[in-house]
C-alpha cells in the first residue's frame, strides 16, 4: 500500500468524522461509501475499517460525557445485551449477504439519515428534564409502566446492533428512535448513552472482522487515526459553522452518496 493512498484514507476519515461529529453523528456513514465509491476499496474491508474507527470515536469521546454525568451506564449495559446480540447476528449473516445487497441496505440507511436530519429532533414529550433517579431505578428494575417500553427499546437496539455490524456504522438512525421514542430519555442523556454503547457493539463485530481478516491495517489504521483527529476538529467546527448550513451540507452529501450506492446495488456501477 503506497503512502499517497494512506494519506487519502486519513483525509477522508478526518472530514467524515469532523462533519459527522459536529452534528452528533458518527462518521462511518460517510466513510464506507466514500472508500468504496472513490477509493475502490472492497466494501467488506471498508466496513472493517469503519468498525475500528467507530470504536475509536466512541471511546475517545466517552470520557467527556462520563465526567459530565450524562451517560447512564446501568441502562447502557442492559441495552448492550440487545446491541451485541444484534452484532453477533450480523456476524453470522454477514458472510452470506452479497455485496450488492449491502450497497442497497446502505442506501436505505443513508436516506433514513437524511430524512432524520430534515425533521429536527425535539425533546421527547413526557420526559423528565432533570436526572430522575427514581424513574431510572424503576426502569432498571423493569417493573411498573416501564416494562412495556423496554422490550420495544431492546428490539430497536437489536436492529441497531445488526445494522451496525453489517454496515460498520454506529447506526444512530435506529438508536435515536429507540432512545427518544421508546425509552423517552432526555436528548443529552440518550446521545451520551448511545455513544457509550457504540464501542461495545462494534467490539463484538470488529473482533470477528479482525479474526476473519477484513480489518486490514493499511486501511483501518489511517481511517482510525483520521477519525480521532476529525472528532477533535468536529467539536470546533460545531462552534464556527452555523447548524443550519451544516445540516444542508450533510443532507446533500447523504443524498449524493445514497444515489451512488443505489447505482452499485443495481449493478450500474461496479
Amino acid at each position: 500500500m503506497h503512502t499517497g493512498f494512506e494519506w487519502w484514507l486519513f483525509a477522508v476519515a478526518v472530514g467524515a468524522s469532523a462533519v459527522g461529529g459536529a452534528l452528533g453523528m458518527a462518521g462511518g456513514i460517510f466513510v464506507v461509501p466514500i472508500l468504496t465509491i472513490f477509493g475502490h476499496v472492497d466494501i467488506r474491508l471498508a466496513i472493517g475499517a469503519s468498525l475500528v474507527s467507530a470504536i475509536a470515536c466512541s471511546c475517545g469521546s466517552a470520557a467527556a460525557f462520563l465526567r459530565g454525568h450524562l451517560t447512564n451506564i446501568r441502562l447502557a449495559i442492559v441495552l448492550e445485551i440487545a446491541t451485541t446480540l444484534g452484532a453477533v447476528s450480523g456476524v453470522l449473516l454477514g458472510g452470506a449477504i452479497p455485496a450488492r445487497a449491502l450497497f442497497a441496505l446502505f442506501a436505505v440507511v443513508l436516506l433514513l439519515s437524511a430524512q432524520q436530519m430534515l425533521v429536527r429532533r425535539g425533546e421527547p414529550s413526557g420526559v423528565a428534564t432533570t436526572a430522575d433517579a427514581g424513574r431510572w431505578g424503576t426502569l432498571l428494575r423493569l417493573d411498573a409502566d416501564r416494562v412495556q417500553r423496554v422490550p420495544l427499546g431492546m428490539t430497536l437496539m437489536y436492529g441497531a446492533g445488526l445494522i451496525s455490524s453489517l454496515l460498520g456504522i454506529g447506526s444512530g438512525v435506529l438508536k435515536i428512535p429507540a432512545m427518544d421514542g421508546a425509552l423517552r430519555l432526555p436528548i443529552k442523556v440518550s446521545s451520551a448513552t448511545s455513544n457509550f454503547m457504540i464501542g461495545v457493539t462494534c467490539a463484538a463485530s470488529a473482533s470477528a472482522a479482525f479474526m476473519r481478516g477484513t480489518v486490514v491495517t493499511a486501511i483501518a489504521g489511517p481511517v482510525a487515526l483520521g477519525s480521532v483527529v476529525g472528532a477533535l476538529l468536529g467539536a470546533r467546527l460545531l462552534v464556527i459553522a452555523s447548524n443550519g448550513t451544516l445540516r444542508v451540507v450533510f443532507i446533500v452529501v447523504l443524498l449524493a452518496l445514497a444515489a451512488q450506492m443505489v447505482a452499485y446495488a443495481c449493478g450500474i456501477l461496479s
Binding site: 494512506e6 475500528v52 470504536i55 475509536a56 466512541s58 471511546c59 475517545g60 466517552a62 470520557a63 462520563l66 465526567r67 454525568h69 451517560t71 451506564i73 446501568r74 449495559i77 442492559v78 448492550e80 445485551i81 451485541t84 446480540l85 452484532a87 453477533v88 456476524v91 453470522l92 458472510g95 433517579a133 431510572w136 431505578g137 432498571l140 464501542g199 461495545v200 462494534c202 467490539a203 463484538a204 463485530s205 470488529a206 473482533s207 470477528a208 472482522a209 479482525f210 479474526m211 476473519r212 480489518v215 491495517t217 493499511a218 483501518a220 489504521g221 489511517p222 482510525a224 487515526l225 480521532v228
Partner: protein, 88 residues
C-alpha cells in the same frame, strides 16, 4: 442509581486507552511496521471489552448481582462474536 467512582475510572481508562492505541497505530504506520499498527488496532478493539469487564467487577463487588449478570452476558456475547470470526 449512579456510580460516580466507576464513571471516573471508566472515563480515565477509555480516554488514556484511546490515546495509547492511537499513538501505537500512528507510530506503526509512520515506521511502516505493520505489526505494531495492527497491535494498536487490536488494543482499540479490546478497550470496550475491558470497559465491560471493569463494570462486571464493580457490580459484583457492590453485590449488584443482577447488573453483574448483565455485564457477564454482554462479555459472553462479545466472546461469541470473536469465536464466530474464528470458526465461521
Amino acid at each position: 442509581m449512579r456510580h460516580p467512582q466507576l464513571e471516573r475510572v471508566l472515563a480515565a481508562v477509555l480516554q488514556y486507552g484511546t490515546w495509547l492505541a492511537t499513538v501505537v497505530i500512528a507510530a506503526g504506520l509512520a515506521m511502516t511496521r505493520t505489526r505494531i499498527a495492527t497491535a494498536g488496532i487490536a488494543l482499540l478493539i479490546l478497550l470496550p471489552v475491558l470497559r465491560v469487564a471493569l463494570m462486571l467487577i464493580v457490580f459484583v463487588r457492590q453485590r449488584d448481582y443482577r447488573l453483574g449478570a448483565v455485564a457477564a452476558l454482554v462479555l459472553l456475547l462479545i466472546g461469541l462474536g470473536f469465536t464466530l470470526g474464528v470458526v465461521a
